[in-house]
Amino acid sequence: MKRFVLLVLIAFGALMFYGVSTLPDRADPRAPANLEESAAGSPVAQDYYIRHAYEDAHTPNMVTVILADYRAYDTLGETMVIFAAGLACFLILRRRRQEDLEEWEESEGLEESEESKEDGTRS
């Protein structure tokens, strides 16, 4: 099984090696991501960002401008992701204090595996 997984991974790696080697060179000024205007005639985002970030938001750090202005909605999403993680930990680990104490008192004399009795009942 382990060998099979290894084989699959090696095949996948080879495919990816092939895939990245067909890409345009890193830092190639003619790569589609580094152009001024895309093949379809629309402006390329990075060119616009570099040229206009300062006049649009009076902020020299372009990353900040993109993060909090051009793509601010992504950053809102990012903050929500962190918030979601906090809330998820809250839901998974924290209980109400009172129940917690009761459960603790209940299980004090019991074995460790009995701990989450309350959770395991409805199966």
């Binding site: 006049e55 649009d56 938001a57 009076h58 902020t59 020299p60 750090n61 990353v63 900040t64 401008v65 993060l67 909090a68 202005d69 601010a72 909605y73 950053t75 809102l76 990012e78 903050t79 929500m80 962190i82 918030f83 993680a85 906090g86 809330l87 930990c89 809250f90 998974i92 680990l93 924290r94 209980r95 204090r97 917690d100 104490l101 603790w104 299980s107 004090e108 019991l110 460790e112 701990e115």
Partner: protein, 161 residues
């Protein structure tokens, strides 16, 4: 893992090691100061809300690690974590919603009524939003740490070995 002295759980209870406690108490204000600098100077140098918030969280975690969670309550209470993260994110969301209500697009900072030129208003908008992010991130990461360590009501209970 090893228990602390006299069976006190070093992650939760008061953990009395003078050198560790003192040195971390000495360092923490500087970390926090730098974190604030990172937040507010994000316009001109690398940094911004998330990095600053994470550093603030790191300063809270440092105190929690060095004197134990119970001792660190004096600095940042456990109960503040979840509301703080809500409020931080709310700052962001409400900024966006207010521009929507003022007739612009969502998160269109130029609509904010700050009485400045358009690009300065955008700059201010970015700052407001970054502060929101910093508050949210600092509070949430601390809250996650607290949740992972567990409640004080469980201290010494048989099942957290």
């Amino acid at each position: 893992m090893e228990r602390g002295r006299e069976g006190i759980d070093p992650m939760r209870g008061y953990y009395d090691d003078r050198i560790v406690a003192l040195s971390s108490r000495l360092v923490v204000p500087f970390i926090q100061l730098f974190a604030l600098y990172v937040v507010f100077h994000g316009h001109y140098s690398p940094g911004g809300g998330f990095q600053g918030g994470a550093m603030l969280a790191a300063s809270f975690l440092l105190i929690r690690l060095s004197v134990g969670s119970d001792g660190a309550q004096l600095q940042f209470r456990k109960g503040w974590g979840t509301p703080g993260s809500s409020i931080g994110t709310l700052i962001y969301l409400v900024t966006g919603l207010s521009t929507l209500l003022l007739g612009g697009y969502f998160l269109d900072y130029s609509q904010l009524p700050l009485g400045m030129g358009e690009s300065e208003t955008r700059s201010m908008g970015i700052l407001i939003v970054e502060i929101g992010v910093a508050v949210a991130v600092a509070c949430t990461l601390t809250a996650i740490y607290d949740d992972l360590v567990g409640e004080e009501g469980r201290r010494g209970s048989p099942h957290d070995a």
